[in-house]
Symmetry: C2
Subunit: 340 residues, 2 copies
């Protein structure tokens, strides 16, 4: 395999000059830079970073542990986090896990097995105990969730999330402002100590604020954020109850998409026969017919905060912080004003 | 941190008994197993696999290098591959890269830096040379692509893909069979030496077979498989040319979704005013209104073949093979028969 000496010989320059080009050092003429780059390409030279790593005494690897591989909101967030971590000179190692697994157990195992300097948990439970997080012996940040149902002292953990309860409240308020009062909800689970429970609470907050009694017959639980078949079936089952409603609050964009299909297959048009609003703001949702009305999670800001916080912590800061971002309404064509 | 001795002491059993439980050894009574498992949970014991790894003299890590993070077809495929690799006792390490980066260069760098026993390339160029693949000094499999435009000897590489040209031909034939003759195509790029070029060729094959002259005014290039805004804009531009057509072949499901939106925003309904057919068969596409008619890639079979092939190679087989899977038509509501 080609090494740096071969490149230098090929170009008739010193090894140190090749090294300067490879490391983007400014002190090289444009002509030399081009000549070296050409040789690197032609001779298929691969810089051996592992040699460089051997000199380093410490790891620079931050793990991103993703719970819920199928969550399309995560795809964009991962890209932002990866860009930020890499730009700041750290290495990001991606690990995926099923929603049925426990992220703390897997995280603890990772820190045992690999040289990690930090962990970003993407998706997880909202109910950690101090004993549980003691298992994680490197700095960590909870991304897209926080410790609402847990017993952690705020000085002991960092998190970056939206205010899920508030966002749900806002979405349902929006439906009320358009004259709706019979509003169904599509949730994953009413009491999962996680995002779904919080958004379900926000839904109930809105009902209460508008003097509407909670009706459990207007609640459909899908058991999943991303299994389209299950979401479709849950919506069909909701419709089969024969309870009338004029609008649905879906706690995630994908849920709204499957629900619209179920409504359509039952002869109901959106928004004419039923309005629908969701939370997430996927790119895709802007390209549906009709465009989905949804609360957009500020994915860029969330990703930057996740990366920035873990880097501060691995660089020695002990200041833990809980970020709560606001969502932004993206008006689409899936909700309509009810005639009085 | 709790160790295996603490568990043994807590349960009043031998360390070797705890070890047998942790390794799912059959030779343990159900009662003991339950007792140990309870202690493991309560004491938050994390098996230290790194200690186990130290004993091993070789790595068991296969890298999955994903090119095109935003490709939703890949998400499902990754799940299948991960399941297969893990079930067979190997570790899968996921690395993501941008479509602008070269997978062979990154792959070569990875094999230098990490202890890898194999690489699965997910997405890549169809035009490798023998000099280029010489950079990869571990077994590898090309997943979702093969060496159509390259100069590799078939005995030197393994690949798992669909026959892209044939699938495109089939999709366009389907439109012809319904009476369409003015058929536009939405491609990424006409000549990218990759999937888009192959599917474009399949489109031209179908036109030729049906005696229809190729019209470059019916070709719209999006420059992306997943950038909804770019796909939408390309469709709008196609419409602005004023060329009449009754159907569109979109080379990917996501392209069809953005195209349907562009058609709708121009007052054209699918399938009444324009039929549309695609390739991919995303879960999502079954939940659109109307359901997208699409050629489904057999993601389960593809994933099993990718994992099975790399495992055979890392276990010493030198038999390289190129798999070409067939797609299956999933009838939806996005195409209609043209009245004669």
């Amino acid at each position: 395999m080609t090494n740096i000496k071969d490149i230098a010989r090929h170009c008739g320059v010193a090894v140190s000059t090749v090294s300067r080009v490879l490391n983007d050092h400014p002190d090289v003429s444009e002509e030399t830079r081009k000549k070296v780059q050409k040789a690197v390409d032609e001779l298929h030279y691969i810089p051996n970073n592992s040699a460089r790593n051997l000199v380093k005494t410490t790891s620079d690897t931050i793990a991103l542990l993703v719970k819920g591989v199928n969550n399309p909101f995560f795809s964009r967030l991962i890209k932002v986090i990866e860009r930020e971590i890499t730009t700041r000179g750290y290495t990001l190692e991606l690990h995926q896990m099923d929603t049925s697994e426990d992220e703390l157990r897997i995280g603890a195992q990772l820190t045992n097995e690999r040289k990690l300097i930090g962990i970003l948990f993407l998706g997880g439970r909202f109910n950690y105990t101090p004993e549980e997080i003691a298992l994680i012996n490197v700095p960590f940040v909870l991304c897209t969730y926080t410790n609402t149902f847990g017993s952690l002292d705020p000085s002991t953990y960092s998190s970056v999330a939206i205010d899920d309860r508030q966002a749900a409240r806002f979405a349902v308020d929006k439906l009320f402002s358009l004259g709706h009062r019979k509003i169904a909800i599509l949730a994953d689970d009413r009491a999962d100590k996680s995002i779904s429970e919080l958004r379900f609470q926000g839904y109930k907050d809105a009902l209460a604020a508008h003097g509407v009694a909670f009706d459990s017959d207007l609640v459909a639980c899908t058991g999943s954020f991303s299994d389209m078949r299950a979401i479709y079936a849950a919506t069909k089952e909701l419709l089969s109850r024969g309870r009338s409603f004029t609008a649905i609050f879906a706690i995630a964009d994908l849920m709204a998409i499957a629900a619209i299909k179920a409504l359509s297959d039952s002869g109901l048009r959106v928004p004419d026969d039923c309005s629908i609003i969701a939370i997430d703001g996927l790119d895709l949702s802007e390209y549906l017919v009709p465009t989905l009305t949804t609360l957009v999670q500020p994915v860029e800001e969330i990703g930057v905060a996740c990366a920035g916080t873990i880097i501060q912590l691995v660089e020695g800061s002990s200041e833990n912080r809980q970020f709560a971002f606001e969502t932004i309404l993206r008006e689409g064509g899936s909700v309509r004003r009810l005639e009085a």
